[in-house]
């Protein structure tokens, strides 16, 4: 028996899980059209690689990862891409994002699937495969799974998250009950890729059937995995907290679990990894709970891109339903519209009514009762953070570890003054992030401006120096000439001379400038980019030439005596 640890705080909201676990997972029918966003994961959006009008097969890559933290997007079924455009997605901002619209042809025809034997693959190869298959964390954060497998230090414990602590959500529960074997196989793949010995599968004690199923599957597989029953306590499903409960190790603030030799995956992610590796199927569908104010709460296996409205229609929303929540009631997002598409991170959709989720009463002032601090799993002082966020005192908020807040909502759940604490934290966090960006932009602008000033100053100096030199030379020559032939000097000729000299000086300086400017921060660029830059720099030099010519005339020569 593994010794369990505990964390500070936590709450016991009513779980409401029974409703949706009465019937097995069923496959949702093919919808009339699918809307597949290109940003379904943490990090950069994928880049579309299909054309409008193109026919795609199920599992065909339609968006490829861009940058380090990114993942692939695939066609969830076979059909035709009818549009690639901005469409509304499941985001609290209600702002649109780039999506592909896919009209299924009803054949559900798979493209090439390539099952692999994970034992013959290195961790690197597995990571690449998972990235290609678009596997991301299905617990909610949608972090690319391949990233979580690459780690610089030894990871000795793999924690599998089957806690599913949020009320209402049962997709992991049902997945474990019905597909335990696949999950265990997936866990073995992840364990193999990580190279760990110990595997701990944490499941909250309010899911006895899932625990039994998983235990049976582990026993059958003869892998030395441990299925551990953990007490039901929200937010026990937060990765860092589950790790604490199972191993007693606290992941340091601002660090990753791998820094303390632990990695954590959701059960659904393990299952997706299994499908990807052993069946060659990219992530095109997931299990999602449809519950709340509906006639038939249950779990569906639905294609990514299915509009939520289709799922809700299957479960039949009750007439007083007036809004929908994606995710759980504690951390979920209110949908801007019910026809936005299901994404990889969507574990649940809750039909909500004012009877089910009464709108909060008007907030009262904080009375510093610290009930929030008592339930905060991160042991923050939410009342202080609220105070700072409310007064826009962002520096202080950061000082009080605002960014360690996991936005679990436990504080707002117990607040006697009904203050929307989490919204204040989110507000403060996004303000701070925006300010950081602004600051960086300002610093960059300052640097560029200062460099420009410096350059202009240098050009001026050099020009003046050259001019002075030429004039001196000219004067000497004239003096010499004067001694030889005592003819009066033609003033116009002199002026022309100087003008010519100035032009020469400008040209020389422009060349020098071009030479000086090229080597800056171009080391990390591709040859094409370098060529481009060179071309631009050459043009620039030319421009400066012209500019210098224009400016040279009204330059008073006494500046040369400056320094």
């Amino acid at each position: 028996m593994t010794r369990l640890h505990s964390f500070h705080g936590g709450i016991h909201p009513l779980t409401h899980k029974k409703e949706s676990t009465q019937s097995p997972i069923i496959s949702a029918p093919l919808p009339a059209q699918l809307i597949v966003p290109f940003r379904q994961h943490a990090g950069d959006a994928a880049k579309p690689v299909v054309q409008v009008g193109e026919r795609v097969l199920k599992g065909q890559l339609i968006g490829e990862p861009v940058g380090m933290i990114s993942s692939s997007i695939h066609a969830p079924t076979s059909g035709t891409i009818t549009a690639i455009e901005l469409q509304q997605i499941a985001h609290p901002s209600a702002l649109p994002d780039l999506c592909a619209t896919l009209v299924p042809d009803g054949l559900d025809e798979w493209g090439v699937r390539q099952p692999l034997n994970y034992r013959q693959l290195s961790s690197d190869e597995l990571q690449k495969h998972l990235r290609r298959c678009g596997i991301v964390g299905l617990g909610g954060a949608a972090f690319p799974s391949d990233m979580k497998l690459s780690h610089p230090v030894v990871v000795d414990t793999l924690v599998i998250n089957g806690a599913e602590c949020e009320p209402y959500i049962t997709c992991d529960d049902m997945l474990m009950r019905e597909r335990a074997e696949g999950i265990v196989r997936g866990i073995e793949i992840l364990r193999h890729a990580l190279g760990t010995d110990s595997v701990l599968i944490g499941i909250e004690d309010n899911k006895p059937q899932a625990i039994a199923a998983m235990q049976r599957a582990v026993d059958d597989s003869s892998h030395p995995f441990k299925v551990v029953t953990v007490p039901t306590l929200y937010p026990g499903g937060s990765a860092k907290h589950l790790i604490k409960v199972l191993t007693g190790v606290e992941v340091p603030s601002g660090k990753l679990p791998t820094d303390v030799g632990v990695q954590c995956f959701n059960v659904a992610t393990a299952y997706a990894a299994h499908r990807a590796v052993e069946h060659g199927e990219p992530l095109v569908s997931r299990v999602v709970t449809v519950t709340g104010n509906v006639e038939q709460p249950r779990n569906y296996e639905a294609l990514i891109g299915t509009p939520f409205s289709d799922l809700v229609a299957l479960s039949v929303a009750k007439p007083d339903t007036n809004r929908y929540i994606m995710g759980g009631p504690m951390m979920g997002v209110e949908l801007p519209a019910v026809n936005v598409p299901l994404v990889k991170a969507s574990n649940c959709v809750i039909a909500a009514s004012d009877a089910l989720f009464p709108p909060p009463p008007a907030p009262m002032p904080c009375i510093r009762c610290t009930r929030c601090a008592q339930v905060c799993p991160v042991e923050l002082q939410p009342q202080d953070l609220f105070w700072f966020a409310q007064s826009h005192n962002f520096g202080k908020a950061q000082e009080f570890d605002l960014f360690d807040c996991i936005e679990c909502g436990a504080c707002a759940y117990v607040c006697p003054s009904s203050i929307p604490l989490v919204q204040y934290y989110r507000y403060a966090k996004s303000e701070i992030r925006a300010r950081d960006l602004e600051k960086r932009a300002a610093d960059l602008a300052r640097e560029r401006h200062e460099f420009r000033q410096f350059r202009i100053e240098r050009e001026k100096q050099e020009k003046a120096e050259r001019l002075a030199q030429k004039e001196r030379a000219a004067a000497e020559a004239k003096a010499a000439a004067a001694t030889v032939i005592a003819t009066p000097v033609d003033p116009t000729a002199d002026a022309d001379d100087t003008q010519q000299m100035r032009i020469d000086a400008a040209l020389a300086r422009a060349k020098e400038q071009a030479a000086a400017a090229t080597p800056k921060n171009t080391e990390a660029l591709t040859p094409e980019q370098r060529a481009e830059i060179e071309a631009i720099e050459a043009r620039r030099a030319h421009i400066h030439e012209l500019a210098a010519d224009a400016g040279a005339d009204d330059e008073p020569p006494k500046h040369s005596q400056g320094n």
Binding site: Y427, S430, A445, H449, I536, R539, A547
Partner: protein, 182 residues
């Protein structure tokens, strides 16, 4: 009374010497305040304050020559920050210095004649292009200072306000009705 006089004289002499010494010994060169002010300014280098850039404006504030409410790109928040830094009262913007929404310059490529005048005007070298060739704004480096707009002989540069997108979307400050509707 004579004693009092002597005491005063002795004290004055002593303190005077100390002060005279200190005034030379501890003279401070340069102005660290200007640096701090410069760090608060938005670095658009737009010159709307009447100074040729953010640094000169910062120096002017530090010397007490310029007011703190002259920087529209910094917004009211910028004034608040300056007021806090300098320990003075907040001053609202004047009539002709109102902040505008953030924007980046955009060159209409059909109209641009490639005169390079805007390139010379850009304080942060954020315009690429060459003579008789079309110019482009490097949007990531554009500070939205609008200095390139007036020199353009064909009016092909416009300021496009930065719209809210998923990448720059922010959670709003929670707002509630204070009075309950009854």
């Amino acid at each position: 009374m004579i004693t009092a006089l002597w005491i005063m004289i002795a004290l004055a002499a002593l303190l005077g010497m100390i002060l005279g010494y200190a005034s030379i010994r501890f003279r401070v060169e340069g102005n660290p305040l200007a640096e701090k002010i410069d760090a608060v300014l938005p670095q658009t280098q737009c010159g709307q304050c009447g100074y040729p850039g953010c640094k000169p404006y910062a120096e002017a504030i530090a010397k007490g020559e310029a007011d703190i409410n002259l920087c529209p790109p910094g917004g009211e928040e910028g004034i608040h920050k300056l007021a806090e830094l300098l320990g003075v009262e907040f001053k609202p913007f004047g009539e002709n210095a109102q902040p505008k929404p953030k924007a980046v310059a955009f060159i209409d490529e059909q109209t641009c004649i490639g005169c390079t005048l805007c390139i010379q005007a850009c304080p942060v070298d954020a315009i690429s292009g060459a003579a008789k060739q079309m110019h482009t704004i490097i949007a990531a480096e554009c500070t939205g200072c609008e200095l390139c707009v007036p020199p353009c002989p064909v009016d092909c540069i416009s300021m496009v306000p930065i719209e809210e997108q998923l990448t720059n979307w922010k959670w709003r400050y929670p707002v509630f009705k204070l009075r309950q509707t009854s």
